[in-house]
Every structure is written in C-alpha cells, then in structure tokens.
Symmetry: C2
Subunit: 225 residues, 2 copies
DNA sequence: CGACCATTTGATATGGATCAAGCGATGTGG
DNA sequence: CCACATCGCTTGATCCATATCAAATGGTCG
C-alpha cells in the first residue's frame, strides 16, 4: 500500500536560508547538513520500531505519525506542517511510524551527528531538549483533547490547525477525514456530522470538504476553552 | 482545601545512597544538592502556571499531576512513585499542578542550578533530555490508553502500576478511585464496576479496595495488548 | 455508637459507534 | 464525450458502552 520514495540531493542554499529565517528557534539544529528527500502521498517515512537514525524537518507538505493498536485501530500521534521537526527520539527506536499525507519534501538529518555534537556544544544540546519538550507539550494537549466531547475535539482541532497554518480564518485541511478521526479518537462519521452541525450553527463554513472558514473564532474558543 | 506543608532539612546520607543505587539512570542529576521536603496528603506541591523553579524527586509516597479543565473536570497527567522525577519543565512554567496523594517526602532540586550545569556538563544535559524523553514516552502511552474501552483502560492501569511498584502480583493502590477515574478519563462508577467485573471473572482479586491481586497477568495482558 | 468519607451497586439516559445507504467529485476506458 | 467505476464524504437508523442520577454499603475515626 505504501509507495516508493524518491531521493534528491539538491539542498539549495536559497531554500536553506529561507527556512532558517522562518524557524529561528530550531535554527541551530537544522544548520546541520541534511539531505532533502521527496515522499509521495501515503509514503512511509519510517516505521514504528525502526532504529531512529534520523530526524526530519518538513520543508513542504504534511506528515502524520501513527501507531496501529492490537485490535487494528489506528491512533494518529501528530500532524507536522511546514517547518515542524518530527522523528526525534531520545531512545533509539521510533515509537510511531510516519507517513506523508500529501506529496512532501523533508529534510533528513542524521541523529548521531546531532547527538555527538550536543556532547560538545551545549547550544545544540539545549535545542534537542527544547524540541523534545515541545513535543511533550503537544502530546499533553492531545491528552486534554481526548477527554472532551466530540464537538469540543473537532473545534479544538480546527483552532489548532488555524493557529499553525496562519492564513486568516480559512484553514486548508491537508488530511482526509479518516486521519482527523484517528487523531481525535472519533469515527469518521462523527467528525463529518460534527462539522455539518457546526456549519448549520453558523460557526464555520465549508466551501469544500477540505477547506474550513472559522466564522466566530472567539465564540468557538469560548465554546470550548 | 489544600493543606499546609512542613519542611525538613534532614537529607540523610543513608537515604541518598539507597536511592542512588535504585535509580542509576538519574543518578547524575539527583547527585545535586536538594532539600527533602514533606508534604501531607492532598497538599499542593506546585500549581499550574507557576514558575517552574524547581523539579522534584519522590523519596517516598505518591504524587499526582493534574489540570482542571474549563468545565471543571479534572485530568490527571501522571502518578509518580518512589524514585520518579516530576515537575521538570523545558519552559519555565509548570503546565500541570502537583499534589501529594499520600503523605510524601520529596527531594526538591533547583532547576536553574541544573540548567546552568547542563550548559557546562554534557552528561547533565543528556540527563535532562532523557528525563523529558521519558516523560514524553509516558504521555504517549497515556494517549493510547485514552482511546481504549473502559475495561482495557483499567487493566492497562493495573498492569502499569504492577510494573512500576514491583511486589509480586499484588498491587497497592495509593490513590482513591476518583484519581484513577480522572487518569483514565472515566467516571468513578465505571472504574468501580469494571474492577468488580474483573474480580467476578477471576482476573483479579480485591482483598481491600486499595489492594489488587492480578490473578492471570498473561491473560490480562493478552486481553488488552 | 454515630458521622463521615470512599466505594459499590442499581436504574436510566445519552453521545457516539456501528451498520447501511446515498451523493458528489475525479478519473478511466469504451 | 459519455457511461461507469472509484473514492472520499455525508446522511440516516439503530445499538450499546459509558455517563448520570440515586441509593445502599462499608470502613475509619472521634
């Protein structure tokens, strides 16, 4: 089911500079040489349990991390948008697998290089720690999501996406409903119904199924808190 | 509702040595001087949003971290048993609050001391990173818990506690049902009923409400995976 | 003994899952 | 260029796990 990947060895200077400027806080880390790679939609980037020899930064596209439970259900850990770093592990195994949601371009960075550099350069060490801490914060928020009602989960998700890909009040959802459902711990039907409901309530507009306009963000936020 | 705390300045050598031996992996970190403090049952150790000037290690007793949601519900982040480190933040604010579940003795360590030491000593930096990574792994497991059925959650919880406080197949639960419920995202009634059901099925025994004997761990594990 | 708190048990309600069908875009072969 | 298969999404009907509301039980401490 997963497709083959293509590798490119470009790594243009211009691209690097642009990235660095928009991502100050991880600048130190990504200053490392890394190879840009392209992954087609639904390509696996790494699998659960594989050695975590690399970490990754999204140059363009969207990536999800996921885990298949014993009963076959799938839980999505996170979505990663342009600029986000993923796949960084403290242990040396990936605890989730990662797939490209859309055709994506990803910077691949050797973990061992960073880890050994961190042993000498405390700034790098600090960066690694910060990145893991950021991931921790993300996952903690995710836990809070999972104990809420369906409507709260969906609204939180939309607000999160809106915050992360800032383009006014219209959010482009790169992922299918099934991914959203598996992220929120709901079924695809419940996600769909909830969106319809929010639309009927005038809280959002759905020009297309993948584009959502937040009509009253303040109200939405309050609705949930 | 929260009680006052008492402070002690003891810090016996014998105690330290015993701890260090049972906690190799964080030995580097806790080698730092820290003040042991006592907290009575239900005492707040720190509050959500407070500056994270200290981190903590449980010497004896049990601690929970929690967060109150907008609608008044409470989510428990984790339970910390003897030897566990908690309250370590990458940012400088506590994202959860922490309370002693039972009368507890806790080693209090100044964060700034560690952070500045980490800037010079890469082993310490590594320790900080590892501790945060361990927390991350714990929270990720927690997410997987929250999408399971009530029975699976309860069984997972019992197995987790049994692994962490190894004393054969009998687990002593230091926390009340309400804490378990708020950890598992269930109601107290559902937790209670589920335990009763497991007992009727012969999967566990409940000599007292706070003591659980796992009758068939292998089966329990398989039951859930 | 009696008050209080934690826990269990019982009866009922409900949010979201499940099962099933319809719908709208997109693409493909005749 | 149209018929038709496919895929992602929505909508509908029903069911069930867990929440909610309510009361009983049991253990602890003054």
């Amino acid at each position: 089911m997963l497709m083959r990947t293509t590798i490119e060895q470009d790594g243009s200077r211009a691209g690097r500079a642009a990235r660095a400027s928009s991502l100050r806080s991880v600048a130190g880390v990504i200053a490392m040489t890394g190879a840009p790679m392209n992954f087609a939609r639904n390509c696996e980037i790494y699998g659960e349990g594989e050695p975590a020899d690399y970490l990754y930064q999204v140059i363009s596209g969207t990536v999800r991390t996921s885990k298949i439970l014993a009963d076959g259900r799938r839980q999505i850990g996170s979505f990663y948008l342009t600029g986000d770093v993923f796949g960084l592990e403290v242990d040396d195994e990936h605890t989730f697998s990662a797939e490209a949601i859309t055709d994506s371009r990803v910077l691949v960075i050797k973990r061992s290089a960073l880890v050994s550099l961190a042993a000498r350069d405390s700034d790098v060490a600090r960066q690694l720690w910060t990145l893991t801490g950021r991931e921790l914060a993300r996952v903690q928020d995710h836990i809070l999501l999972l104990v809420k009602t369906a409507q709260e989960r969906v609204v939180d998700f939309l607000l999160e996406m809106a915050d992360r890909a800032p383009s006014g009040d219209t959010v482009e959802l790169p992922m299918p409903r099934q991914d959203i459902a598996d992220y929120l711990g709901l079924t695809i039907e419940t996600v769909s119904r909830t969106l319809t409901m929010l639309e009927n309530d005038g809280a959002i507009a759905l020009p297309t199924s993948r584009r959502v306009t937040l009509r009253k963000r303040a109200a939405l936020g309050r609705l949930n808190a």
